[in-house]
Symmetry: C2
């Protein structure tokens, strides 16, 4: 099968039309993301993560695939909404707002800011708008300023157990490449070095080869629920960010280490009984706090497809391609919905649809199109390479 064509076709003829058709709020601006299986809006709340992510997706595709004015218009719809209603006076982004833009949930979650910054940066590249470029930069530096206490006053943990989370260093390694156009190269290099060190030295456990979701500041482990937590999808996603950085730095050692880590995580978190990758695991195999631990989530599987495609593109290892095919077969046969379009988001352990939706509070126009784009581009190179042989 020609995978590059499958991914390209699905992106352009299935995924994007779904969001173009159903998600645009022409009345108040921004996007609806709570869409049922058929694309019908079942809730109108606007989650800032997903507003930023969709504006980013359409800007990025405009920049990298085709100067389609419709895509730029859709991106603008989200950018305008974010600028008007996304943040408080201090420039901290809310977690969610109503359809009309009234604040619903306070800026306790720094990833709202991360996705807004990504959106602003890609949109600024598309439009060359200096004001938006500046906004991307301000938002980025505001994130860095909050890095040691991202939840601010909403932090409920005391300082007794100073665990640090993987999400922020991981996101930064991607965010900084996204913001290359608006940051100085000194700033970019500094943040790249910081995040490689965090991801590959602090959070990657030497002994098991796995990424831990929370560690003590020196990378050592704490024997507690949070300290034992593994989030396989997060770990694997971070590895394709590392491969991107490895390619940029021509650092084949980093690419190889990232590839090995993908395989380690997959071997550890593949469900041998029903197939698919577990959502959460406990490093010691103890019972988890996360009741959804055994569910199969769309983004975990799509990030894994991207990571494996990139790893194979750069290493050509058979073992990587075998895993790619295994995850491909599971993902395309379980998540994809050829009948109604787009992908389901949430399956139970057995692989049955758990929530009959295409979008919600966390699933928007982001992981599916981004993975389709990334896999399309990787397979184009893989296939061209094979052809040459």
């Amino acid at each position: 099968m020609n995978y590059s064509i499958l991914y390209k076709d699905t992106l352009l003829n299935d995924i994007l039309p779904f969001w173009e058709r159903y998600s645009i709020d022409t009345q108040y601006g921004g996007y609806f993301t709570c869409l049922d299986r058929n694309g019908k809006v079942y809730d109108t709340d606007k989650f800032i993560w997903l507003q930023g992510r969709q504006a980013w997706t359409f800007s990025m595709l405009y920049n990298k695939v085709e100067k389609n004015p419709k895509w730029l218009e859709i991106a603008k719809n989200g950018i305008d909404f974010l600028r008007k209603y996304g943040s408080d006076k201090e420039g901290n982004f809310y977690f969610s707002v109503t359809q009309k833009g009234e604040p619903l949930v306070q800026p306790y979650n720094i990833f709202s800011d991360c996705f807004a910054a990504m959106a602003f940066s890609q949109y600024a590249i598309a439009t060359n708008d200096e004001e938006i470029k500046e906004l991307a930069k301000t938002t980025y530096f505001n994130i860095l300023q909050r890095i040691d206490n991202p939840k601010g006053n909403y932090e409920k943990n005391t300082l007794t157990r100073p665990l640090v989370g993987f999400s922020l260093p991981m996101i930064l390694s991607n965010l900084v490449l996204e913001l290359e156009g608006v940051l100085s190269s000194e700033e970019v290099n500094k943040t790249i070095d910081y995040s490689i060190n965090q991801v590959m030295e602090i959070f990657l456990d030497k002994k098991t080869g796995l990424i831990f979701e929370n560690v003590l500041p020196d990378g050592s482990h704490d024997d507690s629920f949070n300290g034992r937590l593994l989030n396989p999808g997060h770990g694997i996603e971070a590895m394709w960010f590392m491969i991107d950085i490895g390619v940029r730095k021509r650092d084949s050692e980093l690419i190889n280490k990232a590839t090995d880590t993908i395989l380690k995580i997959l071997e550890h978190s593949w469900d041998e009984e029903y197939g698919g990758i577990f959502y959460f695991m406990d490093a010691k195999g103890y019972p988890l706090q996360q009741l959804e631990w055994d569910q199969k989530l769309w983004w975990v599987h799509l990030e894994t497809l991207v990571a494996l495609a990139k790893a194979y593109e750069h290493t050509q290892k058979d073992e990587v391609f075998n895993w790619y095919q295994k995850v491909h077969n599971y993902s395309w046969s379980h998540f994809s919905d050829p009948e109604k379009g787009e992908w389901f988001g949430y399956l139970n352990r057995q692989g049955e649809v758990l929530l009959n939706l295409k979008g919600g509070k966390w699933k928007g126009c982001f992981h599916v199109p981004r993975a389709m784009f990334q896999c399309w581009k990787s397979f184009e190179k893989i296939e061209a390479n094979n052809f040459k042989k």
Copy 2:
């Protein structure tokens, strides 16, 4: 089958021995609650909800079943720990602390205070200790003071959508009866009237006969994720609190209305495919935010057994008994673990064990023994009644 004997036997010879044997921290005081299937401690963190609940359970059994000095000693172990480490200087109770009692999670959760107050009150009845009685009272009034903003500074919702939650009015209806010994009768009656009104007029929806988990202050509904949320176990549990109040007030109308509501909720939330009661539902049938919505939880089923036993005790309706038997058969065949003792807490939709534990962050020595005690006492009366006929 003689149900009263089943419940009494299970309480005294299975459930209590399990917690007596495995949960006592003889080194630092308080209780371990993270116990695996066999009772082995897999995590030592101490969750204040569960410290209070276990101290309450052993005090209550001492007061109502038998003046067993071992039970009082176990209760004291938790009471001492709560007094030393449970709260901050303002008397607000932490959510969790380390094994040694160092604060881990700040007092953002007012139910920590509710379960501490219940524990202090029952222990004060057992010991006639004036200082503990005073502590129960102070804690209770501190809860009332926080009632309009229970999360304080940790509240992330803005005032845009002023939803109020069901948990607090529901808990108050039980808490106030628990604290009868330490409060003036005027205070008790006032809080009883308040909670009957809240539960039966504001949160009980006239049209559907269901309890909503979040409503606007006048009881009207908001078409949003939280506004559509149903928590069947909560609704049913509140109904047995209402029956207790109905008995106390000799208000048969309240008892009948509570009974009807139990049946309505059960009809709406019973899983016709696999059996058991869903954990969460959306009032409009839309996809939920709670990924665990279809799981079967121990406390939901135990609270339902208590509610149906009490409803049958006071109404003798066949329909109630038929439901009792259905829930009984499901619960005893799925949650009970005759091999290793105590009950499993978390099953998947299909009824298989999801987490191989007897205790964790939320499951401690509370729902199982309380339900065993309540059902034992109800069936004693039901069986005595039948005998007389």
